[in-house]
Structure formats: structure tokens, C-alpha cells
Amino acid sequence: MNTVLEKPQIAASTLEDLSRQHLDAVVTYALHLTGTAEDAVEYVTAGLFHARHFPTAALQRDGRAILYRAVTRAARQNQHYPPQRRGVARLFAKRPALISLGPAAADATRINTAKRALLATEFSRRAALLLRDLAKLSYREIGVAMECSPEAASRLVASARREFGSIYRDISI
């Protein structure tokens, strides 16, 4: 016997309000996660598009963690929006105009020792470290964003701090 879940009734304005409220933080997170403004814009766009295309009932419960989860998932899977063509067709694909972050991201895109060490860490650890120390998410929210349990999120954050500190001390002569 199949159990049919009730369709979630989520207002479309909920996602818009949530996106407007946390867009700066999400873009900051994506920019430091990927290292470039262009990738950050594409992953944020892809993540928001996915969050709108496949709304979940957890949007009202978890709020911003769902946005971070969508962006993290897009960055992990290298999903662009609009989707990139594959093969020879990508040579003839017409790409839309890029959304430039402009001077807002000038400081964030500047490479320093901390960013270099951050980009040298493994992706999941980097994401967990940014979610905890930059976005100030709790372990439960990090678990939602990283699609793991809060205990796994705590271990991820601890190992990320160890790896980041090790790399930072190595390259900061």
C-alpha cells in the first residue's frame, strides 16, 4: 500500500522573502566556497532555481538552511544555471549575460593567505567551516545544509578546522 503524502502548501513569496533576506550571506558563502564571483553567481542562481523548482516542506521549518543546502548542492555537483551544454553543442550555445557582482565583491575576491588555505581544503570541510564560522549556522542547520546529521556536522567542522589550520600554518611563512 502506498502512502501518499500531502502536498506542501508553500507560498511562493516565502522563498522570495527568504532569498531577499539572506541573499547577501548566501552569495558571500558561495563566493568564498568557490573562489570566484562568476561561479558564485551561477551556483547561487542554480540553487535558488532548484529551490523554487522543487519546493520542500522544510522551507518553512529550516529557512535559510534550505538556501545554503541548495547552493552547496549546486556547487558540489558543478551545476550551472542555465545548464551548460555538453559536447560540441556548448560551442554554439548562447550564454546569457553574466550578472556581475561589481565592486561589492572586490574585497571578497581578493586572495589572501586565509583564502588560499581555505581553497586548499576539501570541499565538504570548506563548506562546513564557512557555514559555521562565516554564516554562523548551528550544527543542526549545518546538518540540513550538508545533508548529514548534526553529529556528523560537528565532526566535519572539527576536521575542517584542523585541516585549515594545518594548511594555513604551512603556507604562512
Binding site: 508553500i10 531577499r20 532548484h50 548542492r73 555537483q77 551545476q79 561589492a104 564560522d133 604551512d170 603556507i171
Partner: protein
């Protein structure tokens, strides 16, 4: 309590329970190691939290939300299409960008919210009255989504495109035009309003012909009369009689002159989708041929100037087509001359080809042309070889285009991570002493330090700082400032002679792709200290400096190469 980085990290984040926090506080009083670890964790947290934030402008925020189709409440924004039809304009329907995360709820969750979006741009005045009086039992979704029911049930891309084209068309028309009620306007001004229909909405066919644009003939379309102006068949028949054409046959069932074979054909031509007035109540056999026999035929010549809607042949503006080429002569006249051979080609002796030899599991070599007469085989060795080489080159180029842009295994977002990781040192390797039998003559020598002894090299570290490549030698033991001389033995080889310093047992090699490709321990005749040889990937300059204990934790030597 055991020392645990996980516990320290959780305590730093305030995620530890109260009992565990008290236990850790008591542990930190006595454990120096955990205290240091806690300090390190705090420093790393501060470094991450000090990363520069991004403040987006309202324009960028709106552009981002519009691009991701999240924006639903912008003023003047077009009504939102169904969630499952979110396709970029001008883009074809592409697969789901997130295939790894299917959501069982689908797009239906927000569909109801989409229905709360602002109403359609179509003004209510131009909605036909019959649509308003539609029964309530009809589909509500098609009405609320503002799309045609067929489009709503069809391709999502088509629905989206239809919405956008309709919105664009409405936006192109001035607002006062589509707000005006044309049915109640007694005297529309056709000169000031080209979009409004005039009283004479269907000009005569002759006037339509006169409106040729840029030398191209106008489209020949029969005027569609309104349904209430349908001409009776009798009047059409009378006009045909007046034009000396055969009158319309009697449509009564008692007419016996109707051939029985015409039951398979329609008695009248009905164009699907046209108004009923376009039905031509003429028997099938009385309809003139679509293409007249004479090119000079026209309605005026035939005396049909008053009748519109008849097919008219007009001279084409295109140049006349070239005559069809004549059939090529038979290639095998001998076969054509023999009736028996022509009847059965398979059994023809002349058509029989020599069996091809298969090489390498089915690959057939081309048959060389037969000597003398050239044979019927068009291929040859050189031509086949050229085709094969060209195909192989094309495959290689395509492979390079599709797979050669990124190295395998390198993530797109990890480009800088890879670049940064390349600066990290690789595992240590055993030293390979470089011996110089001949007296070494160095150029561009620079010396730091004066006197020092008893040192030994503990570690060698590397770092990339912009265009500079740093090499740091950490010393242990000893006292004073050891005299270190650097010089070039060629443009890409640097010798470091460290007086009073013993070489280390191992040399950590730099990562590949850097300015310094390798470091080895050398030996110079007559020199008792440590000699390190740096091999460069290109010609560079060196800026040496002495490190004191307060700078690097231990005395050392820094070579900045750029």
C-alpha cells in the same frame, strides 16, 4: 577526560552540554595541550569570520532573483508561469539541473501560490462575452494560468513561449488602444490607430493586390466573410449563370444526374477552421483546375473580375527554374545490350565483384581498381587513406574540445584550490648529493651573516607569494649568525653555501609547477658547510635574508626568488 579536538571544537561553538562544558573547563586548567589547541581554534575561527562579506545592490539582487525565477512580487512583472515550465526564454527545454535531488512533492506545492500572482495583462474589456459566460464546470486551471488549455496540457516550453509572446504583443500596443472598447466605438479613426479594425475590415481583393511591399507580391488570401453574411447558394449560382458558367446542380436528393462514384468525394470543400461562408457549394467536377492550362489566364480574362477567392496564377518573382538534367547515359552498355543479363542483375557475370578480404575482424580493405579499364570501384588506397586520416583528425579534435578543456578529476570550483595546493610541499625525498668535481665559480654572489657554527638544517619550507617563491631553511642548535653565500651556476641553478651549518638528512621537494623545480644537497670541494642546489624552471633573481629566532621561531635563512 581525554583530549579531543572534537570536544574543543564543540565547546568553541557552544554546542557542548553543560556537564561536558564544566568537565572541559576543569580539564583546560591543567592540560596545556588542549589550551593551545583551543587558542588555535579560536584563531582559525576569527580568520574565517574576518573574510570579507558581499553587499549586493538592489539591482543585483533583483537580477539574481529574476534569473533564478524566484521573483514573484516585482511591480509590473509578468505573471508567473507554472513552476514546472520554468525555462529560460530562447532556451530549449533542458533536463533538470539537479538530477540528484528529486523531490516527491514536485512543483505542485507552489502552484497554488502562483495562482495568487497578479492577474493577466489582458484587459477584461477585450475578453469575448461568450468566454465570460462559460459554464463553471470547465477547467479552472486553464483559465487561471492564462494559457490555452492545449498549451497547458502540452509542452511547458510552448506554454511559456506563448505567454511571453502574448505579453510582448500586448506590451507593444499602447495602453489606450487595448483599453478601448472597439465594439462600442461608433467612429474609429483608422489613420490614428492602425491596429483598430475599420468598418471595411476586408478590403476588396484588388486593393489587397495593390499593397505590394518592396516589390514582393502580397499574400493571396481569400477574404473571410463574417458568418452572418453568408451568401446563399442560389445567389452564387445566379452569378455563375450570368458568367456563362454551368449553374449549380440541384441539391435535392431526387436529383439523378449525380454520379454515384462521387459519394467517395466531398460534395463541397470545407477548410477546417474557416468560417462557414468559405464553403464552396460547387460540385467536385465543376471546380476548375487549381492551375489553369494557360499562363495568361486571369479573372479579368475569364470574365470573373467580380469574383474573389478564385485561385490565380501569377508570375513568380523568382527566376525560372533550370531544366531538369538529362538522365546520364548507361554506364554498362554491354549489359544493356544483352537482354538476358539485364533481366537478372544478380546472376550477371559482369556485375559480379571479386570477394573482399576481411582483415582484423570484419574490417574490409578497399578493393584496388582493376587494371586497364579502371573498373567500377570508385575508391582507391590514397583516397581511403585521406578520408581515414581526416576522420581520425576530426575525432581527435572533437575529443580535445569536449574532454581536453579540463583535466580529469579537477573540480570546476577547485581551480584556485588546486593552484593553492600546488604551493604546499610534497612528501620528503631522500637527498641526492650533487658533487662538483671542478672548482665552482658562482656569479651574482650575495652573502648574509658573518659568524656562526653548530647549526644544522631541520626543515625546508616553500611558499608562493604572488610572483615570489620563498624558500626557508630552519636551523636548530648552534649560535651566532652563520655565513651563507648564494650565487648562480648558470641562469637556472642557485648554490647556497652555508658555513657552520650541517645539511639535513632529508630535503622536502617543492610541488611541481613552481619556480623552483627541485632542491638537492650539493658538495663543493674545499667547503665544509652545507651546500644546497636549487634548480629553477627559468632564469630568476634571489634576495636572501637572515631570519632570527623571534621571526620564525628558530633561526633560519630565507631566499626570495622571483
Amino acid at each position: 577526560m581525554k583530549c579531543s579536538l572534537l570536544t574543543l571544537s564543540c565547546a568553541l561553538d557552544g554546542e557542548l552540554s553543560r556537564d561536558r562544558q564544566l568537565e572541559l573547563d576543569a580539564h583546560l586548567i591543567t592540560c596545556e595541550r588542549c589550551k593551545t589547541g583551543m587558542r588555535y581554534l579560536r584563531e582559525e575561527t576569527e580568520r574565517i569570520s574576518l573574510l570579507a562579506p558581499v553587499r549586493l545592490t538592489s539591482t543585483t539582487t533583483t537580477a539574481l532573483l529574476e534569473r533564478s525565477r524566484v521573483l514573484v512580487s516585482a511591480p509590473g512583472h509578468a505573471p508567473e508561469e507554472p513552476l514546472d515550465s520554468a525555462t529560460e526564454p530562447g532556451e530549449e527545454q533542458l533536463p533538470d539541473p539537479m538530477p540528484a535531488a528529486p523531490d516527491p512533492f514536485g512543483a505542485l506545492g507552489i502552484s497554488a501560490a502562483v495562482l495568487d500572482a497578479p492577474a493577466m495583462l489582458e484587459p477584461p474589456d477585450i475578453i469575448p462575452s461568450d468566454q465570460e459566460e462559460a459554464p463553471e464546470g470547465q477547467s479552472d486551471s486553464s483559465e487561471l494560468e492564462g494559457t490555452d488549455p492545449e498549451l497547458a496540457h502540452g509542452s511547458a516550453f510552448e506554454a511559456s513561449e506563448a505567454d511571453r509572446s502574448a505579453s510582448d504583443a500586448l506590451a507593444a500596443v499602447p495602453e489606450e488602444l487595448w483599453l478601448a472598447d472597439t465594439s462600442d466605438d461608433p467612429e474609429p479613426d483608422p489613420t490614428a490607430d492602425p491596429f483598430l479594425p475599420t468598418q471595411d475590415a476586408t478590403p476588396p481583393f484588388a486593393e489587397q493586390e495593390a499593397t505590394a511591399v518592396d516589390g514582393f507580391p502580397p499574400a493571396i488570401a481569400p477574404p473571410i466573410a463574417p458568418a452572418d453574411e453568408e451568401a446563399p447558394a442560389e445567389s452564387l449560382g445566379e452569378s455563375l449563370v450570368a458568367l456563362d458558367l454551368p449553374p449549380l446542380p440541384d441539391e435535392s436528393p431526387s436529383a439523378t444526374d449525380e454520379p454515384a462514384a462521387d459519394d467517395s468525394r466531398p460534395n463541397s470543400m470545407v477548410v477546417p477552421g474557416w468560417e462557414p461562408a468559405t464553403e464552396l457549394k460547387v460540385p467536385w467536377e465543376d471546380i476548375p483546375a487549381a492551375t489553369p492550362a494557360s499562363e495568361a489566364w486571369s479573372p479579368e480574362v475569364a470574365g470573373l473580375a467580380g469574383i474573389t477567392g478564385l485561385p490565380v496564377a501569377r508570375p513568380s518573382p523568382l527566376p525560372p527554374a533550370a531544366p531538369f538534367p538529362a538522365a546520364p547515359p548507361p554506364t554498362r552498355p554491354a549489359v544493356a545490350a544483352v537482354p538476358g543479363l539485364q533481366a537478372d542483375r544478380k546472376s550477371s557475370v559482369l556485375d559480379r565483384q571479386p570477394p573482399r578480404r576481411s582483415v582484423g575482424g570484419g574490417f574490409r580493405l578497399p578493393v584496388a581498381p582493376r587494371s586497364g579499364k579502371g573498373g567500377s570501384e570508385p575508391r582507391s588506397w590514397s583516397r581511403t587513406g585521406l578520408v581515414a586520416v581526416a576522420a581520425l583528425a576530426a575525432v581527435l579534435i572533437l575529443w580535445n574540445i569536449t574532454h581536453g578543456s579540463k583535466p580529469a578529476g579537477v573540480h570546476h570550483s577547485n581551480r584556485q584550490a588546486t593552484a593553492a595546493a600546488s604551493a604546499t610541499p610534497s612528501p620528503s625525498t631522500s637527498p641526492s648529493p650533487t658533487s662538483t668535481a671542478t672548482p665552482l665559480v658562482l656569479t651574482g654572489t650575495q652573502s648574509v651573516g658573518s659568524s656562526g657554527s653548530g647549526y644544522s638544517v631541520q626543515t625546508v619550507q616553500y611558499g608562493v607569494h604572488g610572483s615570489q617563491f620563498w624558500v626557508v631553511f630552519h636551523f636548530v642548535g648552534g649560535s651566532g649568525q652563520p655565513a651563507i653565500t648564494s650565487g648562480f651556476d648558470g641562469p637556472q641553478t642557485i648554490y647556497l653555501e652555508m658555513q657552520g651549518v650541517a645539511p639535513g638528512t632529508q630535503v622536502t621537494q617543492p610541488a611541481t609547477g613552481n619556480l623552483v623545480t627541485s632542491v638537492s644537497i650539493g658538495h663543493v670541494a674545499g667547503f665544509s658547510g652545507a651546500v644546497y642546489v636549487l634548480h629553477l624552471s627559468r632564469a630568476a633573481q634571489i634576495s636572501p635574508s637572515q631570519l632570527t629566532g623571534s621571526e620564525a621561531g628558530a633561526p633560519g635563512y630565507l631566499a626570495i626568488i622571483q
